[in-house]
């Protein structure tokens, strides 16, 4: 460098052109030399790195597009098609998908010659459609394949109606008549449908009321009995069978049980009244095959004449299904209905995990960075923490189950919930243990990013604070931590993203297929950290691999995945927004 720079100074007498000429000659020489080496050109590296980026971006976009498209179309109402097969069998339902396949030779040989020729012309490939025919209670199946060569034709019957029910899955048929108190009040599809519209809302309202009674009121009463029983049992454990306390508790229990039985009877009476009122309204449907089926209006979640829907009707149906999906509980082994408990569980678990992991991680990194003296010990600890991030998550699940659930939870049960043993209270998977397990799993993420943030706080800030007579802790609290907060938030964001998507450890420490109660509700003490909970990630797994009605569950897998992605993205966006707000505070106008 020095020679090239000095040269013009050393030759002041030389005319400018000569200098310039010699310089460009030098440049040329250098360029030629570069041409000989591929790597020196830089372009291959540009292509390589750019290509890597493109591959990553394409993969992400493809994945997101797949999930978004598949997840978004699930709730869009499809027309109901009626197929008539060559043997005059009739199938009616929604076409869920189609494919081309190679019919087996046995099937092929039984076909007429012209069809065989057609398939042969197509190199042995035939086309078929999968029709969701529903009516499981009548036919014992949800789906039928309809091969093109087997079908005479298809029509869109005007009054083909889709009915989503509380149980047995969907029903496809035409409204035939409408019964009130067993008397026919309408006997054309149109009139029956009008009656259905007229009464359905009020019937469903009564049905919800009934469910509320079953869930909340009966629950409340049975909690009273349980409580009294537990007290009786603890009195027995503490004071013995012949003690006064035990006898008192026993008397108390008997009194409460008697009270509750009266309350039960009353609630049951109310329920029966509601049921009886609802049972008055019956919709009679006729399947495409001509079978009649009487459906209680209370059983019907939603019904619509699919082939008569205009765009507005389709949109409102679509939105109503989304709303049900987001706000309701699942039915039909999770393949229908909503995922609200899973959303709730996911968010609650993630938030509790963040609340646990962030302070813990920040304290640990404060010690590592601010208090500990650098040395082999600290390096070892740091390496161990970094390696913790690479441990497979199921290992954390096993640890959580073995340590949190069995050891810690078991001890808590022994000490505080002795009366309800052998039924575990804390000694089994639950929200708290799941959150703790994931907190442990995400701890390295928080520690590493917090440490980086702490290290990035300029020494001049600390010195300024010490110079004002602040102690170490005052400096950390007032200067270092606020400055490091955006970094801490980054850690929290990464931890949340990792924690919210984790499924494997949750299966061991508390996520369940169907949780009867939410982990946070209006019953004292409001947060029931010991309860098992539903989780969207686990829900996806359950739908995809554990469902009896796999075909019907498949679209829900995508929809739930979409929702999970949205929730994780939302939690992240929230944290990123928070971080941006914090960062803005530290932007200096710098001179």
């Amino acid at each position: 460098m020095s020679t090239t720079l000095k040269e013009p100074q050393n030759t002041p007498a030389l005319p400018r052109e000569i200098i310039r000429g010699s310089m460009s000659a030098r440049k040329k020489a250098r360029g030629n030399r570069g041409g000989r080496s591929l790597l020196a050109k830089g372009e291959p590296m540009l292509w390589l790195t750019g290509g890597g980026l493109v591959v990553a971006v394409v993969m992400i976009i493809a994945l997101l597009t797949l999930v978004i498209i598949q997840g978004a179309v699930t709730f869009w109402p499809k027309p109901v098609v009626q197929f008539t097969l060559k043997d005059n069998t009739i199938y009616m339902g929604e076409v869920t998908r189609d494919d081309t396949y190679k019919p087996e030779p046995g099937v092929l040989n039984s076909l007429p010659a012209d069809v065989q020729a057609d398939i042969a012309a197509n190199e042995g490939w035939a086309h078929r459609e999968l029709v969701r025919t529903g009516n499981f209670d009548l036919t014992n199946t949800h789906f039928h394949w309809v091969e093109d060569f087997n079908s005479q034709g298809q029509t869109l019957p005007k009054w083909a109606t889709v009915i989503e029910r509380n149980s047995w899955g969907r029903f496809y048929g035409m409204p035939k008549s409408f019964l009130i108190d067993g008397k026919v009040v309408a006997d054309t599809p149109q009139a029956a449908w009008a009656e259905y519209i007229k009464y359905h809302d009020e019937v469903r309202e009564r049905w919800h009321e009934r469910r509320g009674l079953e869930k909340h009121d009966i629950g409340r009463e049975s909690r009273k009995v349980d409580h009294a029983r537990l007290e009786m049992k603890s009195a027995l454990l503490e004071h013995g069978k012949d003690s006064a306390e035990y006898r008192e508790a026993q008397a108390n229990y008997d009194a409460i049980e008697a009270q509750v039985n009266v309350a039960y009877a009353k609630i049951r009476e109310e329920i029966n009244a509601l049921n009886a009122e609802n049972d008055r309204y019956q919709l009679v449907m006729e399947t495409a095959q001509g079978q009649e089926k009487q459906l209680g209006l209370a059983e019907i979640v939603r019904a619509y004449p699919a082939n008569q829907l205009g765009l507005g009707g389709k949109i409102s149906l679509y939105l109503s299904r989304w709303w049900e999906f987001l706000s309701d509980e699942p039915r039909e082994a999770n393949s229908e209905g909503g995922v609200f408990p899973a959303i709730f569980g996911t968010v609650a678990m993630t938030l509790i995990m963040s609340v646990l992991v962030v302070p813990f991680g920040v304290l640990a990194s404060l010690y590592l960075r601010e208090y500990a003296k650098a040395g082999p010990m600290i390096s070892a600890v740091r390496i161990a923490i970094n390696n913790l991030a690479g441990v497979p998550s199921i290992v954390f699940g096993v640890f959580g189950l073995g340590f949190f659930c069995y050891v810690v939870g078991g001890t808590i049960d022994e000490v505080f919930f002795k009366a309800s043993l052998p039924n575990p209270t804390f000694g089994t998977g639950g929200l708290l243990w799941a959150a703790l397990t994931l907190a442990l799993l995400t701890l390295p993420v928080v520690i590493v990013s917090t440490e980086e943030a702490l290290a990035a706080v300029p020494g001049s800030m600390r010195e300024g604070s010490y110079g004002c007579g602040a102690s170490k802790w005052q400096t950390i609290r007032r200067i270092v931590l606020p400055r490091a907060m955006p970094g801490v938030m980054t850690g929290a964001i990464l931890a949340m993203a990792r924690g919210a998507g984790e499924v494997a450890p949750l299966m061991l420490v508390g996520a369940v297929k169907l949780a009867p109660e939410l982990p946070i509700d209006g019953v004292y003490p409001f947060l029931h950290a010991q309860r098992s909970f539903m989780h969207l990630g686990f829900h996806v797994y359950d739908l995809g691999f554990q469902s009896q009605n796999a075909e019907a569950a498949k679209p829900m897998v995508f929809t739930t995945t979409l929702l999970l992605i949205c929730i994780v993205a939302f939690l992240n966006l929230f944290a990123i927004w928070l971080r941006a707000r914090l960062r803005r505070k530290f932007v200096s106008s710098q001179f």
Partner: protein
Amino acid sequence: MGTNPVMDKSMTTTESDLNTAATTSVTQPDDRDQLTLEQIAACDNFKSEIHDSLYQETSIINVKDFNLWYGTKQALFNINMPIAEGQVTALVGPSGCGKSTLLRSVNRINDLIDGLHIGGDMLLNGTSIYDKSVDVIELRKRMGMVFQKPNPFPMSIFENVVYSLRIDGERNKGVLEEVCERSLRGAALWDEVKDRIHESALGLSGGQQQRLCIARAIAAEPEVLLMDEPCSALDPIATGKIEDLVEELRGEYTILMVTHNMQQASRASNYTAFMYLGRLVEYGPTRDIFTNPHLRPTEDYISGRFG
């Protein structure tokens, strides 16, 4: 801070001198008039040339036989230095000579550095600074410090100024506001920021930030103000303002100021100490140091012949 090639050259010569100092132990040269830089560098307990007029002042800080090591590297050699109360004392010398180190030893902010150890002592109003029983936090509260680069905290102007009161747990809003206004006025910043004292301090210009740091330093009414090249990161206009401010603060506070800039030292200070390679070479009234130094190296340095 631009590096100046001449300075770099002097650095290289001094390093080689250090090596010779380690091998050959030279005693105090007798002939003070013919003293050379090499002789100073070779001498481990160089006796500083301290002008008599200093002994007539009351000293607030008294540095006594002070030595300091960063690990095994000695950075200060046997410094003896009284600092006059209510006056501005400038520390000058080539870069790396230990000015900052000495300044930072006064409020013991150097304690935070690993592997640092010291010998000798300093006295503040007659009490030891380095005694084991001294509460460092309390000590630092008696001194304000201003750093080379403005380092306002990322909070509002108000919170910056009252920081030292806040950490003492002062909650009374009236007191805080009064202190804030007094300190900002003291730092000649009040008029510029009085309408936005609750806005972020990071929105101020560099010069304003530095004056804010001075306001922060004088908020707790310290006995001594320590300034480490307070103008080196500022433009000439901001520098002028800070110099005027130092002029105003003189008398009220004892100011110990490191500076790189000879004019600044001559304009702003009453006393000037010239340091070289961790030794205090000559120390006296600024006018004498600049016009009539006793030692040849001082004269060379003041007149820009090296450093």
